[in-house]
Amino acid sequence: MLLNQFLLLAAILFSIGVYGVIVRRNGVLVLMSIELILNSVNINLIAFSTYHGLGGQVFALFVIAVAAAEVGVGLAIVLLIYRNRRSVDIDALDELKG
């Protein structure tokens, strides 16, 4: 088992997530991209915990819990915007600029 295979997988997932956050216009898909980044972190943590003991796995559990809370709040805000604008297009939010 090679550690760098897991690190590579995590790095790829991370990059896909970053790409999604930057490129996607749909608010819900942006949230999903952020989840992808958080899961890449989980893969890293668990892969490293093979060497460093259980700390990484405990951390991964915390990350999962926090990610759930975060996405809950995020979806609520997206829903609020959908109610007012009938759209979840992030690029259409251009009231604030200067």
């Binding site: 915390f62 990350v63 805000i77």
Partner: protein, 525 residues
Amino acid sequence: MIIQVPPTVPVVPEQLDPSAVPLAVPEIVWSAVAPALVLMIGGILLLTVVSLVRKPLPSWFHATWTVATATAAICATVPLWQRVQDNGASSEMAGTVGLDGFSLFVTGVICVSVILAALLLEGYLRREDLVGPEWYVLMLLSASGGVVMASANDLIVLFLGLEILSVAVYVLAAMHSRRTSSQEAGLKYFVLGAFSSAFLLYGIALTYGATGSTNLAGIQTFLADNVLVDNGLLLAGLAFMLVGFGFKVAAVPFHMWAPDVYQGAPTPVSAYMAAGVKAAGFAGLLRVFVTTFGPTYREEWMPMVAALAVLSLVVGSVMAIIQTNVKRMLAYSSISHAGFILLGVAAASDAGTSAALFYLLVYTFMVAGSFGVVTLIGRKGDGRHSLEDYRGLSRARPGLALVFTVFLLAQSGIPLTGGFLAKFYVIGAIVDEGLYALAAVAMLTAVISAFLYLRVIVAMYFAGPAGAEEGSEEPAEFAGPPVRIPAAAGLALGLALVGTLALGIVPGPATEVTRDATAELTVGN
């Protein structure tokens, strides 16, 4: 880097002697987390009380409760401070919560920002017909997260504190249900905040991989005892963590969200974000970079932080000048203030940390006061924030104009205000480290940003009526409905004014406290 796992047979539970692995339960020392507990329980109790009482409670009740809770949290730090000064720093709960002067001082700063923001919020909510306890509950919970973050001695705790802090503020930013710009600010803050947390987390994971520990004291001792042959993993971890913190403290080039969010969020919430959230972000940054990686990896991260500082100083002050919206202008000015505080971080010395802490304290008063005035001028609808709306304020509300002038002059760094000494100490700390170029940039941008504060002052005092000839004698009329100053907001402005001036005239006590507020990492028992 290819690491081959040694081909040993994995340990299965059956092979372990059950008596050999006692379950280690750390001793829970509640007193060590008393300030965070007070804030958290205060917030939850407020929600409980409000939902148990049948009649809607008057709006002053929520604000008074919040102020009382934050004051109680400040009181809770006093005996702990004594303990730290007498017995030295310690860490509790299996070494995850650090108890040192640094964490207690930042706790105090966060509580002050909660008090000021809650007082501003009271009149704001009545004016906007949004009365409810949720605002205060969220603010208290977020402050408790900030306190957890400031006292974290473990990257897991740091991350949890950061998330408790941030998630509550995402909601607060989007809370004004009738202003679509508030919801837009909430979503933008959420997306970029979650994005930056993810970066920070990725950095934490890489650091954990490189050092084998999430405990800050463990990382520090590991790096002091070992030299990493291949430190690419750790450097990548440091860079990712710096990106995460850079987003949180709104340092250029990770600042894009700040102007939009500060402008769109309800103004008292902007005050809290600029003061409290920034203080917590810098607490995390100082703890991780200066205290943990300072002794061993200073050469590696110092240039990155210095670059962020210079960019923030320059971009913050230059972009602030061209704004016509005062809230947005204050947002850019807060970016340039972040640049100053980053200089204190870049010094990576005890003097630099003390200077950064003093700056955070002064900045809390200055920025809460400034956003307080902006809250009042915004009037019903929270929409009158352009520079035009400040024309002739000196005639309509001379007192308010004078107070705002003091806050703006303090932010620009005029002597006899706390702002001057804050900048002075930071620049002194980096000159001590021989970073003269950074000091020169800092002073230059201080001059540039003085211009933007003077622009607002000129609009309040000397502007002619809109469209009039230059130099016309006729003073501008203050447009729009009259500005009302609720008692609580008046109190907040008074407190902020006293804080700003007192720290400039008698800085002695505060500088002594910041000098004693050193961050120390101790291995838990």
